[in-house]
């Protein structure tokens, strides 16, 4: 059980797909202009990642090596289509907002990456732990980014079209925050903040500019 929790927590902090590994960026920046969009996108990623990791690790002995990528992709694509159809049917406003980004979850590097790196080599329970961990880590970052951007940009946070928190109507937010260039810049500062936090906790993230970040220091 303990290593189940360890895998789960690893996905959240030191191997967070977005801030540390920096994979799966495509949808993050696009979808984080609305809290509601980011929230459901996070749920979708958690669902697809966990389910596909579970199936892949369950079948890992049966899938031949040579043709593993096509099989992984069909499994992931089926879960993505299920999410696509259900969201289209039950949550049309969110579906219209997310639009092209739901099908693109299938090529989201987080899912195929973890399915390959982890699910294909580990037991089902660990794969589910890793899926949940990575998914929650991913959604956490995307929701924080979305809350910031929606609040600053449009002055209010709307969830299932009730206004949760709103600034006085006279507030005229800076438009750039909702635009893509703003997303890049804010995400850049967010990674700097995450790195500063992990560094302050004594876990030195070795950033070698020529290679890549590998976490050193106290074991989790």
């Amino acid at each position: 059980m303990t290593d189940w929790i360890a895998t789960f927590k690893r996905g959240l902090s030191i191997e967070n797909p977005l801030t540390i590994l920096m994979i799966g960026l495509c949808a993050t920046l696009a979808v984080s202009t609305k809290f509601e969009g980011a929230f459901f996108m996070g749920l979708a990623v958690i669902f697809v990642l966990t389910m596909s990791s579970m199936i892949i690790s369950a079948l890992r002995r049966v899938i031949p090596e040579q043709v593993r990528i096509p099989i992984f992709i069909v499994v992931i694509a089926s879960f993505v289509t299920i999410v696509d159809l259900t969201m289209h049917a039950f949550l049309p406003p969110v579906y219209n907002f997310l639009g092209v980004w739901i099908p693109l979850i299938v090529v989201n590097c987080v899912i195929l990456g973890r399915a390959e790196a982890f699910a294909y080599h580990n037991s089902v329970s660990l794969a589910v732990a890793d899926g949940l961990g990575m998914g929650t880590g991913y959604s956490f970052v995307i929701i924080v980014l979305a809350t910031f951007r929606e609040f600053v940009g449009s002055g209010e946070i709307v969830f299932m079209n009730q206004r949760i928190v709103a600034l006085p109507p006279s507030y005229q937010g800076p438009g750039i925050v909702l635009l893509f260039p703003g997303a890049f810049i804010i995400f850049g500062f967010m990674i700097a903040g995450a790195r500063w936090v992990t560094e302050r906790q004594g876990r030195r993230v070795v950033e070698t500019s020529k290679h890549c970040t590998i976490e050193e220091g106290r074991a989790l």
């Binding site: 495509c26 096509p70 693109l104 893509f180 500062f189 700097a192 950033e207």
Partner: protein, 207 residues
């Protein structure tokens, strides 16, 4: 004939620059940040993307119009079908290149597996082929020639953005950047400014 060429040219430039898939629509960011740390990897990647994206969209066009559309199952099967086609195509091309043209494989082939997890390839191949994939559910319904030219434009746009960003990032490695912003955070801020330039182009023509 002339205005058919004019349309294709407009479509090409529209896809490459005006609606640049990387810097105005932000599809395909994972390799954009992963590979662009060095110039030669970016050039290799750009070449591979141009080659495979055009091939992929012709394959998906064939599968869509010959198989999925007539059977009427396209609406819900297009995601697994297209990505399966792309993955198989990439793996096949990689094996073929490794065997037949080792030189070309050395320069470009090793980027091919990276294309399967590349959102841009799937997005462009699906957009050019499946009407209504683009958010506005306005049917494009390109012909075969238009689909290939459109994807070629998108791929050239992808390569152009990737290489210009790689050049910037090489300077970034040595620029006097505060310690906490060094590396990836600064790359994101630079990408933000670069995309600001491209957004200025939007709405001119093309799709």
């Amino acid at each position: 004939m002339i205005d058919m060429l004019r349309n294709l040219a407009l479509l090409f430039i529209g896809a490459a620059l005006v609606n640049n898939i990387l810097l105005t629509r932000f599809i395909g960011l994972c390799p954009f940040f992963g590979v662009s740390s060095a110039m030669e990897t970016s050039v290799g990647m750009a070449g591979a993307v141009v080659f495979v994206m055009t091939l992929a969209s012709s394959a998906t066009w064939v599968f869509w119009n010959v198989l999925l559309e007539p059977l009427g199952v396209g609406d819900f099967l297009y995601i697994p079908a297209f990505i399966l086609v792309i993955a198989a195509l990439v793996q096949f091309v990689e094996m073929y290149l490794r065997k037949a043209m080792p030189g070309l494989y050395r320069a470009m082939g090793i980027y091919l597996p990276l294309i399967t997890t590349n959102c841009a390839v799937l997005a462009a191949a699906t957009e050019a082929v499946k009407p209504g994939f683009f958010k506005m559910n306005i049917a494009y319904g390109f012909g075969f020639g238009e689909a290939v030219v459109y994807t070629l434009g998108v791929a050239v746009g992808f390569g152009f953005a990737l290489i210009s960003f790689a050049a910037l990032r090489e300077r970034l490695d040595v620029a006097p950047v505060p310690k906490i912003m060094r590396g990836a955070p600064m790359a994101f801020v630079t990408a933000g400014l670069l995309s600001l330039g491209y957004v200025g182009l939007s709405g001119m023509f093309g799709i």
